[in-house]
C-alpha cells in the first residue's frame, strides 16, 4: 500500500505489523551522530514534525553540480534504541526506517506517540538508492561527515515492511517467540 506525505498520526495509526508499504515524500537520514546530537540537546536543522527518519549512511556524490545517490540501504537500528523513543516524542517524528528492528522502549513510544518502525531490506542498496528521486538538501555534513549527515531525500515508492506498529505489535518479538518455541522442540 502507498504511504504518502503528509505523514499524519491518523495514517500512521492505521498501519499494522506485516503491512507492506511504499513511501512517497521526504525522508531524513540520521544515524548514530545525529541521534546523539539531538539527544544531547542539539537543535534540529529541519522541522521533524510528522517526519520519517531513515537509519542510513548513504553514498552520495556530486555529478555535474548535482547530488546523486549511489547506494542507500538501511543500517542496523538497535544502536539508536536509547534515543529513538524520546526523540519521536519530543519532535513529533512519526516513523523510523531501518533494519533489524528495535526494542521494547521504542515500541512503547510508538504506542504512546503514534509511530511505526518500517523495515527496509538490508543489503538492497541499489534498489533503495533508485527510489531516491531527488536530494533536496544536506545538513550537519561539515560537523559529522557525509554518511552521518542529515540528508533530505525525496523518495518515491520506497519499499518497506511495518514490523512495529502503534498498537503494541512487533513482528520481531513474534518471530523470536515462535522460532524459540520451535528450537526447543528440535532440541527435545
Amino acid at each position: 500500500m502507498l504511504l504518502e506525505a503528509p505523514f499524519t498520526e491518523e495514517k500512521i495509526r492505521a498501519l499494522r505489523v506485516g503491512d507492506m508499504v511504499e513511501i512517497t515524500g521526504v525522508v531524513y537520514t540520521g544515524r548514530d551522530a545525529v541521534h546523539k546530537y539531538l539527544h544531547d540537546g542539539g537543535k534540529p536543522p529541519v522541522n521533524l514534525k510528522d517526519s520519517i527518519i531513515y537509519h542510513c549512511g548513504p553514498v552520495v556524490v556530486k555529478e555535474a553540480g548535482k547530488w546523486v545517490v549511489k547506494a542507500a540501504g538501511p543500517t542496523t537500528s538497535i544502536r539508536e534504541e536509547p534515543y529513538q523513543g524520546p526523540l519521536m516524542e519530543q519532535y513529533g517524528i512519526r516513523a523510523v526506517i531501518g533494519k533489524g528492528g528495535m526494542g521494547a522502549k521504542t515500541l512503547q513510544y510508538c504506542q504512546k506517540v503514534g509511530g511505526v518502525y518500517l523495515h527496509a531490506v538490508g543489503g538492497a542498496a541499489q534498489v533503495l538508492a533508485e527510489r531516491v528521486v531527488a536530494v533536496k538538501g544536506v545538513h550537519l555534513a561539515e560537523k559529522f561527515g557525509s554518511p552521518e549527515a542529515i540528508w533530505e531525500f525525496q523518495v518515491e515508492r520506497f519499499p518497506a515492511v511495518v514490523t512495529m506498529d502503534s498498537h503494541g505489535g512487533s513482528l520481531h518479538a513474534q518471530v523470536l517467540e515462535e522460532s524459540a518455541a520451535k528450537f526447543k522442540q528440535l532440541l527435545g
Binding site: P58, G73, G100, A124, Q126, P159, V175, S179, F183, L186
Partner: protein, 296 residues
C-alpha cells in the same frame, strides 16, 4: 612479472566481487523466493533482493553499501613473491575505493579515524599459501559488518544447551546460533562452520569453507549428513528473510573440521548474509586470467 597488469586484474576482481553475485547464490535466492507464499513479507523481501542483484550488476555498483572486510586468499607460485602481490593488491584496493567499488571501510580501532583508502593494520586481510604449480590463484570475499556481528563461537560442553563434545552437541550450538541471529545478519544466511581448532583458526577455517559451491556435497559423509540436517532444521525455525518470518532462513550450510587440544572443543560459526560476495581467478605466468572461479 608485470605488476601493473596484476593490479589491473585485481581491480577487476574487486569490481566483480562487489557488484556481481555468483550464480550459485542467485539460484539459491530464486529457489527461496519460490518457496515463500505469494504476497508474504518473506516473498517481498526476496523479490527486492533479486531486483537488487540484477541492478547492481547492470550498474556495476556495490550490491550493498557495506562493502565489508576485504578478505584475500592467495596461492602464490615461485614467480610472484608475497610482497609484490601485496603491493599490487593494496594499490587495486585504493583505486577500487576511489572509484566507488568499495566504501571507505577501514577504521583505526584506537582513534576512530577512517583511513579513507581501506588500508591499515590488518586491512585488507591476507592469507597466503605457496602454490604447487605455475598458476597464481586468488580468492576474495567481502563480508559486511551486520553478518560478522552475528557470527559466534561456542565452547563445548554447553550445559544450558545440553551440548556435549560430539556431533549432536555441535548440532545444538549451530542451531542456537541461527536462533540468536534472527534476521539481524541480513538473512537468509549461509553458515560456514568449523568444528575444533583453536579460537583463531576456527574462525579462519569457518570463513574459508564458505568458498565451497552452495550445492556441492561435503566429501566427509558424516559432515554431509550434518549439513543437510542443519539446513532443514534451521529453515524449520521459521525466521525467514530479514527475520520477517518464512521458510527461507538459510541458503547453505558448510562444515569443516580441525584437530583440537584435548582440553578444548570450539565450534566457530561464520554467518554470511545473502549478499554473499565471493569470487576469484587463476592467472597464468604470462599474467593472463585463464579462469574465473565462479560464474556471475
Amino acid at each position: 612479472m608485470d605488476a601493473r597488469a596484476l593490479q589491473k586484474n585485481l581491480l577487476e576482481l574487486i569490481r566483480r566481487t562487489s557488484a556481481e553475485l555468483p550464480t550459485d547464490v542467485v539460484r539459491a535466492v530464486e529457489a527461496g523466493a519460490r518457496k515463500e507464499k505469494a504476497g508474504s513479507n518473506a516473498r517481498y523481501a526476496l523479490e527486492v533482493i533479486r531486483d537488487n542483484i540484477v541492478m547492481a550488476k547492470d550498474k556495476s555498483q556495490p550490491l550493498c553499501q557495506d562493502t565489508g572486510t576485504i578478505i584475500c586468499y592467495a596461492e602464490l607460485p615461485k614467480w610472484c613473491d608475497e610482497r609484490t602481490f601485496r603491493s599490487a593488491y593494496e594499490k587495486a584496493v585504493v583505486e577500487a575505493t576511489r572509484v566507488g567499488y568499495l566504501r571507505q571501510n577501514s577504521v583505526d580501532s584506537v582513534t576512530g579515524a577512517n583511513s579513507g583508502d581501506n588500508l591499515g593494520p590488518g586491512n585488507p586481510s591476507f592469507h597466503f599459501h605457496q602454490a604447487t604449480g605455475r598458476a597464481l590463484t586468488v580468492r576474495m570475499m567481502l563480508k559486511g559488518g551486520g553478518c560478522e556481528n552475528v557470527s559466534s563461537q561456542y565452547s563445548l560442553p554447553d550445559t544450558k544447551l545440553g551440548a556435549g563434545r560430539d556431533l549432536e552437541g555441535v548440532r545444538r550450538v549451530v542451531l542456537d546460533s541461527v536462533l540468536q541471529a534472527q534476521g539481524k545478519g541480513c538473512g537468509p544466511g549461509i553458515l560456514g562452520v568449523c568444528i575444533g581448532g583453536d579460537r583463531g583458526m576456527g574462525y579462519v577455517a569457518a570463513k574459508e569453507t564458505l568458498f565451497r559451491e552452495l550445492d556441492d556435497t561435503n566429501e566427509d559423509p558424516r559432515l554431509a549428513k550434518l549439513e543437510k540436517r542443519i539446513m532443514k532444521e534451521g529453515n524449520s525455525l521459521g525466521i525467514g528473510p530479514m527475520g520477517f518470518g518464512g521458510a527461507t532462513t538459510l541458503l547453505g550450510v558448510k562444515f569443516t573440521h580441525r584437530n583440537r587440544v584435548p582440553a578444548s572443543f570450539f565450534v566457530s560459526i561464520a554467518y554470511m548474509c545473502w549478499a554473499f560476495r565471493r569470487n576469484g581467478f587463476v592467472l597464468s605466468e604470462g599474467g593472463r586470467i585463464t579462469r574465473w572461479l565462479y560464474d556471475s
